[in-house]
């Protein structure tokens, strides 16, 4: 017999996201200084109704399977003077586009589709109805703005993360750090550099995975 679900179903932070104009510095801080593993990345061509730039969305593990994520938009310059107080998000001119305003958000994890739809129902019945329900690459999410104007996301995984996505994220980040510090960073340059890294490292990674699984099965047998 199925157990009735509780009213409070959320499961902590899935990810919290921020824009960055300094991906190399960000990677240095989180990956190299704090030793947070890079666990996911998305290299996406710009699309949609707004003039959306190409972007890299990359994630670091912050423990408990929770993540901190960043958006790096190719060709986008900071909207403020470098010397002004506040963080990369905080100060805007009137022409700052909506995608940038919404890039900083908290995403809260839920177990499954039933729970996601339950939160959708609660929001839709409130003064803050769901503004978007989106099937992303590997997650499905609903979004709204809270009374303060903060964007809130509730999300469920569509499938478990595969090991090769960690390799892909590592290659993305190494390519991004190089490209972002060079002249005129672009998705074209990133994907070209990433192909070189794939050729250099992907086969060896797969071999190491195979050896690891053989070693694991021997452990189980012994």
């Amino acid at each position: 017999m199925a157990t009735a679900k509780s009213v409070h179903r959320v499961q902590g932070v899935d990810h919290t996201a921020f824009p960055t104009f300094d991906p190399a510095g960000t990677v240095k801080f989180y990956r190299d200084v704090l030793k947070f593993p890079v666990v996911h990345s998305i290299c996406a061509a710009g699309w949609g109704p707004q003039k959306h730039p190409d972007f890299i969305h990359f994630f670091f593990d912050i423990g408990n399977d929770d993540r901190i994520a960043f958006f790096y938009y190719f060709g986008l310059e900071p909207y403020r003077d470098a010397g002004a107080p506040g963080d990369a998000w905080a100060q805007f001119t009137p022409d700052v586009p909506e995608f940038f305003l919404n890039s900083r958000h908290l995403a809260i994890h839920v177990e499954d589709e039933e729970d996601l739809l339950e939160y959708r129902r609660r929001l839709d019945e409130s003064d803050w109805p769901v503004e978007m329900q989106v099937m992303h690459e590997t997650i499905e999410s609903i979004y709204t703005h809270d009374p303060n104007g903060y964007m809130i996301e509730l999300t469920r995984a569509l499938r478990p993360v595969t090991p090769q996505e960690d390799l892909d994220a590592a290659l993305t980040i190494d390519a991004l750090c190089e490209v972002a510090q060079g002249e005129a960073p672009s998705m074209d340059k990133l994907l070209t550099r990433k192909a070189e890294l794939i050729v250099q490292r992907a086969a060896a990674w797969e071999l190491a995975q195979l050896n690891e699984s053989v070693a694991d099965s021997k452990l189980v047998q012994s």
Partner: protein, 82 residues
């Protein structure tokens, strides 16, 4: 004049690889967990045939080898030799 891209082997990308494979001038092999998709001439993939939703479609390419994306929109992906 070959065009070549890399696509990570994950369930969402299956449609991209399947549709590319239908073209007789395309060869596909593996480099670790990546599909290496090589077209003798221009690589053209019809988005609707892949069944990919937009979020997947616009982030499916992992690498470009001596090649350049000349079209990537809701209709198709076209990649040519750089």
């Amino acid at each position: 004049m070959t065009a070549r891209i890399y696509v990570l082997e994950v369930p969402e990308n299956e449609g991209v690889v399947d549709v590319a494979a239908r073209d007789s001038q395309v060869t596909i092999d593996k480099v670790g967990p990546y599909f290496r998709i090589t077209a003798d001439d221009e690589l053209i993939i019809d988005r609707r045939a892949t069944g990919c939703r937009h979020a997947v479609w616009y982030s499916a390419i992992a690498g470009l080898e001596d090649s350049i994306i000349v079209q990537q929109d809701k209709d198709a992906l076209r990649v040519t030799r750089r």
